[in-house]
Structure formats: structure tokens, C-alpha cells
């Protein structure tokens, strides 16, 4: 059964998305899995990490014992300052986001759809939601990358024709990494760019509600060197 085949690890998924970051990009990493993107370091590229709470240009997670209690990223993790860091207040931080300064935001999601919609803030049959800054970021970042498990715990697909859950923003997702591969959102739908080792396009399609575009130049998933 496919369930027993090894899938990609979360760090590998986030490494792969981080490989797409370009020199001098301003990068915003969502809470949870996306923060793993900052573990991938390409010395040829300078990245500026922005956090909703107004920290522009923070560094890696603070080593134990060296935390500054006043310096956290969007996930509440203590980070270290790096030279050039600047602090602004919340309104100015979202001015930067809405102003189109963020080159990419990486977020987790419950669902992502072939039209670029995604849902990551509201669970059905539960009042309210945990929207945080996701709607502002999704609507205004130049690109939205999503990292999510390909299926739910009980095997239902998360890569859909249309989202079933209330969406975070319409038509904004450009790139998706799941534990089965890397997917580009195109006008024709999800294009499978890279498959997890040992997984065929047909096996991946089987776990996907949306119809995948399989390009002639499909490659195996690229891991960090």
C-alpha cells in the first residue's frame, strides 16, 4: 500500500521551498511548519526575515540560555538580532505587508485548491477563527508558498479542486510543497514539478482531488545538498 512508502520530511519540504527564495527577498514565515524554512541557508543569498510583530531582519532561533525575552518571531520563538535589524510597531509592520514589500510568505494550510485558493484559518463547526496576519499576508505578499501534508490523517486529500473550508485569500498560491512533492499553481491547475522519491505521478494523483498536470520535464524531489 502507498501508505507505507516513506514520504518527505517536513524539513525537506521547507528546504525545498526555501531554495526558491531569491537574493534580497523579504520573507515572512508563518507559525508552525514554515518556520523550518529558516533552517535552510544558502550562503549565496541574503534574505531578510520579517515577522508581523514588527521585526524586520531577524536571525536564527536563539540558543538556549541566550534568549532575549523581548525578541520573538511571529511564532513566539526567541530569535537573535542580526546586524541591520529594525523594529517598527504593528501598524507599520502591516503597512510594509500591505505595501507589497514582502516577496514571499510561507504558510501552512488545511487545504489548497488548484485555482490558488487556500484555507488555513477556520475549522468547520467551530466559531471564530485564528486568522492572525494570514489574510493580510496572503492578499499582499508578492508570492504565497504553502507547506502542508498531502492528505489528512485519515487519508483525505488536501490538494483540491476547490477549497471546502473558508478560504484565507483567493487565487494567491504560487507554489506548494507536500510530503509527496513540489507543485506549481498554473492556469491549468496544479503542475507536479517534482515527486517524492519512490512515488509515481499516478500514485500522487490517487491521493489528490484536483487533476494534476504532469509535465514532460517532471523531476525527482530536490533535497538540500
Amino acid at each position: 500500500m502507498t501508505e507505507e512508502k516513506p514520504k518527505l520530511q517536513r524539513q525537506a519540504m521547507c528546504d525545498r521551498l526555501a531554495m526558491e527564495f531569491q537574493d534580497d527577498w523579504i520573507v515572512n514565515l508563518g507559525v508552525g511548519m514554515p518556520t523550518l524554512c529558516s533552517n535552510y541557508v544558502d550562503p549565496t543569498k541574503d534574505l531578510i526575515f520579517h515577522s508581523e510583530n514588527g521585526v524586520i531582519g531577524y536571525g536564527p532561533l536563539a540558543p538556549a540560555g541566550e534568549e532575549d525575552r523581548h525578541l520573538v518571531n511571529a511564532g513566539g520563538q526567541n530569535v537573535v538580532p542580526i546586524p541591520g535589524m529594525a523594529i517598527v510597531h504593528h501598524a507599520d509592520s502591516f503597512a510594509l505587508i500591505r505595501g507589497g514589500m514582502v516577496d514571499v510568505t510561507v504558510m501552512g494550510a488545511y487545504e489548497v485548491a488548484e485555482n490558488g485558493d487556500f484555507a488555513n484559518w477556520r475549522i468547520p463547526n467551530r466559531k471564530g477563527g485564528g486568522i492572525g496576519g494570514a489574510m493580510d499576508l496572503a492578499a499582499c505578499a508578492k508570492q504565497v508558498f504553502i507547506a502542508l501534508e498531502h492528505t489528512t490523517r485519515d487519508g483525505k486529500p488536501r490538494m483540491l479542486k476547490r477549497c471546502a473550508l473558508p478560504i484565507t485569500a483567493p487565487g494567491v498560491v504560487t507554489l506548494v510543497a507536500t510530503d509527496l512533492g513540489l507543485f506549481k499553481v498554473t492556469p491549468q491547475g496544479f503542475e507536479l514539478r517534482e515527486h517524492a522519491p519512490g512515488w509515481t505521478p499516478e500514485e500522487i494523483q490517487e491521493l489528490t482531488e484536483a487533476t494534476l498536470v504532469i509535465p514532460p520535464d517532471l523531476k525527482e524531489f530536490r533535497f538540500r545538498d
Binding site: E52, I87, R126, T168
Partner: protein, 232 residues
């Protein structure tokens, strides 16, 4: 110069009336005015409207959730009106599901901008955030230069409870690192701004006028946090 320094948190929040609206800053537990919220909890004002990024955490620390758990709050405006993990059932979540408290879910940037609009005398503004989502339903939409926006309105409050790093006796405030978050815009937006100060309240004139995050004209009351009250 008017004396803005209060000797106790209880004294500083004594006049908060039932039915007041308040702002409580903080992000991921940093920059939360825990001492003032504790005093408001002791003071016991009820039917409050709260404006905050979240509705309280599950840890033992005092935050807006403390007031909610004590049934002091009737409505919250927040970017998080459900837990980020479904397993987390805070007092707010329980009460919200039971219909004992009302809430409006506001995208975080819209929340910040609505506070900034209140501080700035802006009647309303068009933002692209939330367009195409459930949170924009029923709101006025407009296309401007090929992009769709929704109209959002200011969020005013009677009180802002603020956690600053340093202040002078006139109320000029400085924050440290990500402690800043919602603090300045809330301090500028509320009718009465009450500040707990971590490090020092220095004599007026000691802060460099180029290095002030909130001008003292916005600040009404200052309380120095005693050593055992400084925690994030």
C-alpha cells in the same frame, strides 16, 4: 506639569467603569500589560469590550483571558478568536461556543490599521486584506485602480493598557524590540492611556526627542512595575 505617576496599579485603573472598552497589546506574550490587567481583574469592572490580538492563552500568566475567564468581558475584537491548535480550549473558546461572550474576528493588519485610524481621525479606509473571504462578507467593496478593497472602520476605546520599557515623567515612552508591537498604536488610539513601565521612569528631559516611540501627550498615567512584576 501634571503629575502622571500613580503609586499602584489598582489606583491607576480604579475609575474603569462597567461597560468600558479597553485595548490590551502584546504579541506572543511579549509587551502584555500584565500588571494593569491583573489590577483590572481585581477591580472587577464588568461588561467590558476588549480589543487585543488574541483572547488569552492557556498558560497561567495574566492576560486578557484572565478578564474573560472572570466574566468581565462581553465582547472581543481579536485576530485570534479560536485557538491555533484545535485541542486548546481556553476559557474564551468555551464561553464563545456557549454564547456567553461575543467576538469579531479581525485580520491582524486590519486590526492594527483600525487602531491607527482611531488614533488618526480617519473615518474609514479601504484595505485589500480579507477580500474574497468570509470575513469580507457584508462589507462594502470597491475596486480602485484595478484592485478590490473592503471598507473598514476605526476601533476606539476608553482605555489602553500599555507595557513600556522606559518612560519619562511626562509620559514619553520607549519600547524594547518586539515589545513594541501593538503598544504604540493602542497608546495613541485610546481616550485614556495607562502605562506600566518595566525599566525606569526617568525625569522629563532625559529621553532623546528623536528616540521616543510614543509622545507623552498621549499618556495619562504611569506606574513603575516593581521587580517581581516584570515578566513576559
Amino acid at each position: 506639569m501634571k503629575n502622571k505617576i500613580y503609586q499602584s496599579f489598582d489606583e491607576a485603573v480604579a475609575d474603569v467603569a462597567d461597560g468600558s472598552a479597553f485595548m490590551a497589546p502584546g504579541f506572543s506574550g511579549v509587551g502584555v500589560p500584565r500588571n494593569l490587567l491583573a489590577a483590572l481583574n481585581r477591580q472587577g469592572a464588568k461588561n467590558l469590550t476588549g480589543i487585543s490580538n488574541n483572547c488569552g492563552t492557556l498558560d497561567e500568566k495574566i492576560d486578557v483571558g484572565t478578564l474573560i475567564a472572570a466574566h468581565q468581558v462581553k465582547k472581543m475584537y481579536a485576530a485570534f478568536t479560536s485557538p491555533t491548535h484545535p485541542s486548546q480550549i481556553s476559557p474564551f473558546v468555551q464561553m464563545y461556543n456557549d454564547g456567553e461572550i461575543d467576538a469579531e474576528t479581525v485580520p491582524q493588519g486590519t486590526l492594527a490599521e483600525r487602531l491607527r485610524a482611531a488614533a488618526s481621525g480617519i473615518g474609514a479606509f479601504f484595505t485589500p486584506a480579507s477580500v474574497g473571504t468570509e470575513l469580507a462578507e457584508g462589507k462594502e467593496h470597491r475596486e480602485i485602480n484595478g484592485r478590490t478593497y473592503v471598507l473598514e472602520f476605526p476601533l476606539h476605546a476608553d482605555y489602553a493598557f500599555i507595557r513600556a520599557f522606559r518612560a519619562d515623567t511626562f509620559g514619553n515612552l520607549q519600547f524594547r524590540l518586539s515589545q513594541r508591537n501593538f503598544n504604540p498604536i493602542m497608546a495613541m488610539a485610546a481616550r485614556v492611556t495607562i502605562v506600566e513601565v518595566e525599566d525606569e521612569i526617568v525625569p522629563v528631559g532625559e529621553l532623546d526627542p528623536d528616540k521616543i516611540h510614543v509622545p507623552g501627550v498621549y499618556v495619562n498615567r504611569l506606574v513603575k512595575i516593581p521587580p517581581d512584576g516584570i515578566f513576559d
